[in-house]
């Protein structure tokens, strides 16, 4: 069993609790042991790095240091924002000028740790082929839109995963469930991020565009791997509809929830009922319609 330190971050404690639950279930199904970092603390998020980069590095770095003390070489964070902070801590530790103050604050170095997103972990440690073999409830006949958001593969020199401008890892995993996955041009466009709080007209425009494109491509759901993207696209979908005078009704499940479904797990366990826009449409079994669809198309 592969041992991976698990840094879930604050979102997964609250609004994105279903992301946490489904992540644990899917990892367990593939024999990945998630070791939750004991006494983990906030990664510092936007306030820390805009106030003091060293503070930000130290806050995130403390979690890496604890993980290293636990004997883990890999840390996975499902939240791309947290992941960026963790990678920032590693970068600081490798910087000859900042190494000493960093180590003084954190108490040890964090050399040799690998930090990955849930997507990277599933793509590299499990892979589409193994996933395809494990599928119990194929999503054949469903059209899923892969949405990566801005941070999952960027900045390229930090993320070091997939193509920064045209990533395909999520596409490949979703295809393995049997679903149809169109080429989504807005897969790395901005959702509006934290402007959801201060200027939700921004989110109305930016997330609105994403929903609009997803609908045009015949998508039934937008699959995400970031709690903030999920909030903007799902929780704020009503606001967006108001802003645009539109009537989007697109469920926005997490990658772990969709894979969990395909593996045959119960929607309840995966927390699908926690989504604002009901994802019930994904529960329709269309495997029998295949022939009918084929002749119709």
């Amino acid at each position: 069993m592969k041992r991976v330190a698990y840094y879930k971050g604050c979102s997964l404690e609250g609004l994105a609790a279903e992301y946490d639950r489904s992540t644990r279930l899917v990892c367990e199904a593939f024999g990945i042991e998630l070791v939750e970092i004991p006494d983990w603390n906030c990664c510092g998020s936007t306030p820390a790095h805009s106030y003091d980069p060293l503070l930000s590095a130290a806050l995130a770095g403390r979690n890496l240091a604890i993980a290293a003390d636990q004997g883990c070489e890999m840390v996975m964070s499902p939240c791309p924002g947290c992941l960026k902070s963790l990678k920032g801590a590693q970068e600081t530790c490798e910087d000859p000028k900042l190494r000493k103050p960093f180590v003084d604050l954190v108490g040890r170095d964090v050399d040799g740790m690998k930090t990955v997103s849930l997507l990277q972990l599933l793509y590299e440690e499990v892979g589409p082929e193994a996933l395809q073999k494990a599928v119990r409830r194929p999503l054949t006949g469903h059209t899923l839109i892969p949405y990566y958001g801005c941070l999952l593969t960027r900045p390229a020199q930090k993320a070091k995963f997939d193509d920064p401008e045209n990533p395909v890892s999520l596409d490949r995993l979703l295809e393995a469930t049997g679903a149809a996955v169109p080429d989504f041009p807005y897969k790395t466009e901005c959702c509006g991020a934290t402007y959801g709080v201060t200027r939700n007209d921004f989110v109305g425009r930016l997330s609105g565009r994403i929903l609009d494109m997803a609908e045009r491509l015949g998508g039934e759901a937008i699959v995400v791997a970031c709690p903030l993207c999920q909030q903007n696209l799902d929780m704020r979908q009503d606001q967006i509809n108001k802003y645009r005078s539109s009537a989007f009704h697109l469920p926005v499940p997490y990658i772990s929830q969709v894979l969990g479904l395909a593996l045959g797990m119960s929607p309840k366990m995966l927390g699908l009922d926690k989504l604002c826009v009901s994802p019930d449409i994904l529960l329709e079994d269309r495997t029998q319609d295949r022939e009918a669809q084929g002749s119709a198309g």
Binding site: A156, E165, N166
Partner: protein, 652 residues
């Protein structure tokens, strides 16, 4: 030995951070130094006269100049001391500019380092001995590597001068990238009409030997006497017999071969003559697509060929040519835009490269000169051009400007309007770079007379919407985001070094930069020479260039060769290895390590074997010197004694 030391101020280049007076004063205290002074510009005429006067008045037997890099002015000063009656090798140079004054501001440390360097040079000079060169005949034949417009120009210039020229071209045809172009900027004259006659000249000149579909296998020798092995790649067609009638192409059943000439837009036959004006007009079989060569029953071309030229058993052949000079004109390749995920990474058939669009515009291209888009053959109405794709972008490792794209986009936009008057063209650009005779006026014409919409800003994304492509970018002059729905997107793909440029450079023993472009000997004053004597550069192999510059360089390189060939002999370099036979133990190690095969056995009376250096082949690398156990083999002008004298001074 009576030694004179001359410390150069180089204006303020050296004197600004080095106390040259003090260096000269210190030098007076070194062994054998009888005269030392500093001077404003030692390389100037009065500066050289000052050295010559001192040699005469002080009876100097050796001279040290502490100044710039010997790469530039060592020949200058060697000539100066020679004129004053000294042997040119009784001269040493200490580099106190590039190695001292330009790299540090600490005057005291610089002065001290300059003194050390002068002390080393003096110590070495004390062991110098006069060396004499001999004369070698010059083989007045020229090798031109690359048959693009630069190589063609160089070959024709030299052939016109009565010299024998050997031209080697990797492709099946000559003409290079220019042969693929439709029209040329800024005059919109037809590329094949101006290049075609030159290509024909190459074929018809009796003193030009053309090896197409051939590559350089190896190069040995030195200026005046190179030996070149050329690999004639198998074409499966006997070119002596082939008349270029094209009957084989018509009947070839393998119709989906890669069409390299049309940049992959069309499909070629497995046996192919790439375009009607090809020189040489000979057919060649693409082994990857030939049915017969892939074990299927076919052989149609062999049956149809009226002169029985097809030979499926043909193998590569190596021919040897002897030449006295080499012009390298290997050109460039186009940046592959697949790394730009945001532009589709090569997934969209209607997002094409600049050269592909050139083929679409060309009357001999895949669509006969009618502008159609590759995906469905429809006439495009809205066309977007994007500049700087693979240029001026450090994130893809191409920080340099390709120099030609701004101009070729303007040309293509003008031609588009000529072909399709109802169409609209948009150009996303970073800056417009159009320095050149009539260049900026040309771009203006595109904007003002042809109504091409120039939008200053980068494109962030291209994606498909229905049958069209959406180009999403910024207009940085208006500060807004813009979206253009286009039928066709042309990427102004930049210039990169020719495939395999590095390997060829190693065969030629010339240097190249981090992008694979060949290094000229001096960026301003020796633009077509390399640091390997007898090897010259022309065209885009040295850096991105347009046609006028490439042609100018082709002629420049040709004139360099003609001045070399104006002499019947050249002086050899006496800085070569020499065997002291009394110390040689005949172990043969030097023969094994010599990279140039310049050392051989020599038999003395009584059958005693000794190593012997062929002075004309030796390149003076010194590997044998370092290897020889009893130190019997010594590289002249860099002997063990000379180098140890320098080291001793440094460590003293």
């Amino acid at each position: 030995m009576r030694i004179g030391v001359f410390v150069c101020n180089c204006g303020t280049n050296i004197a600004g951070t080095v106390d040259t007076k003090k260096v000269a004063a210190e030098a007076l205290g070194f062994a054998d130094v009888v005269y030392a002074t500093n001077y404003m510009y030692t390389c100037s005429e009065p500066g050289q006269q000052e050295i010559q006067r001192a040699i005469a008045e002080q009876g100097l037997q050796g001279v040290v100049v502490a100044a710039c890099s010997p790469r530039m002015h060592e020949p200058t000063f060697r000539r100066a001391v020679e004129k004053a009656g000294l042997n040119r090798y009784m001269f040493e140079m200490a580099n106190i500019r590039e190695h001292v004054s330009w790299i540090g501001n600490d005057r005291e440390a610089n002065t001290s380092k300059a003194i050390d360097l002068v002390r080393m040079a003096v110590a070495k000079l004390r062991f110098n001995a006069p060396l004499f060169s001999s004369k070698m005949p010059v083989n007045k034949r020229l090798l031109v590597i690359g048959g693009g417009v630069a190589g063609i120009q160089a070959a024709l210039d030299c052939a016109d001068g009565g010299m024998d020229v050997v031209m080697v071209e990797r492709q099946q045809y000559i003409g290079g990238k220019m042969a693929k172009l439709d029209k040329t900027f800024p005059t919109i004259d037809c590329s094949s009409c101006i290049l075609g006659p030159k290509m024909v000249d190459v074929a018809q000149k009796e003193n030009i030997t053309l090896y197409a579909a051939s590559e350089i296998e190896s190069i040995s020798g030195y200026i005046g006497n190179f030996t070149v092995e050329i690999r004639k790649k198998t074409t499966f067609v006997n070119w002596e017999a082939c008349t270029g009638c094209g009957a084989c192409m018509e009947k070839c059943p393998s119709k989906k071969a890669a069409d390299y000439f049309n940049e992959g837009l069309g499909a070629a036959r497995a046996i192919n003559i790439p375009f009607p004006q090809a020189i040489p007009k000979k057919a060649m079989i693409d082994a990857a697509y030939c049915r017969q060569l892939n074990g299927k029953k076919c052989g149609v071309c062999a049956k149809i060929c009226p002169v029985k030229a097809i030979d499926f058993e043909m193998k590569d052949e190596i021919v040897t040519e002897k030449v006295g000079a080499i012009i390298v004109a290997t050109g460039y390749d186009l940046f592959d835009h697949a790394v730009y995920g945001e532009y589709g990474g090569g997934r969209y058939p209607d997002v094409i490269s600049g050269l592909q669009y050139e083929r679409i515009l060309s009357a001999s291209g895949p669509f006969g000169g009618h502008i159609r888009r590759p995906s469905d053959g429809k006439e495009p109405k809205e066309i977007v051009f994007i500049s700087c794709v693979g240029s001026r972008d450090a994130s893809v490792g191409r920080p340099y400007c390709s120099g030609i794209c701004c101009m070729y986009i303007a040309k293509q936009a003008i031609l588009t309007r000529d072909h399709l008057p109802e169409s609209n063209s948009y150009v996303f650009y970073m800056d417009i770079r159009s320095p050149g005779k009539n260049y900026d006026e040309f771009v203006r014409r595109a904007q003002e007379e042809y109504g091409v919409q120039y939008i200053r800003g980068r494109v962030g994304k291209i994606y498909r919407r229905g049958e069209r492509m959406v180009v999403q970018g910024a207009d940085t002059l208006l500060g807004v985001q813009v979206e253009v729905e286009a039928d066709l997107v042309v990427l102004a793909t930049g210039v990169e070094s020719s495939l395999g440029a590095g390997e060829l450079a190693e065969k030629l023993r010339i240097s190249y930069d981090q992008y694979g472009f060949y290094m000229e000997s001096h960026p301003k004053l020796r633009p077509v020479e390399t640091n390997t004597a007898g090897v010259y550069l022309a065209g885009a192999c040295q850096g991105p260039k347009d046609i006028p510059s490439s042609v100018a360089q082709g002629s420049a390189a040709a004139s360099k060769v003609q001045s070399l060939f104006a002499h019947d002999t050249i002086e050899t370099n006496p800085q070569v290895a020499l065997v002291n036979e009394r110390n040689c133990i005949a172990c043969g190690k030097c023969i094994q390590v010599c990279p140039f095969g310049a050392i051989q056995w020599k038999e003395l009376r009584g059958g005693i074997k000794k190593a012997e250096v062929l002075a004309s082949v030796c390149q003076g690398c010194g590997v044998c010197n370092a290897t020889c156990p009893p130190k019997a083999i010594q590289l002249q002008h860099a002997t063990d004694n000379q180098i140890l004298a320098e080291v001793n001074e440094l460590c003293a």
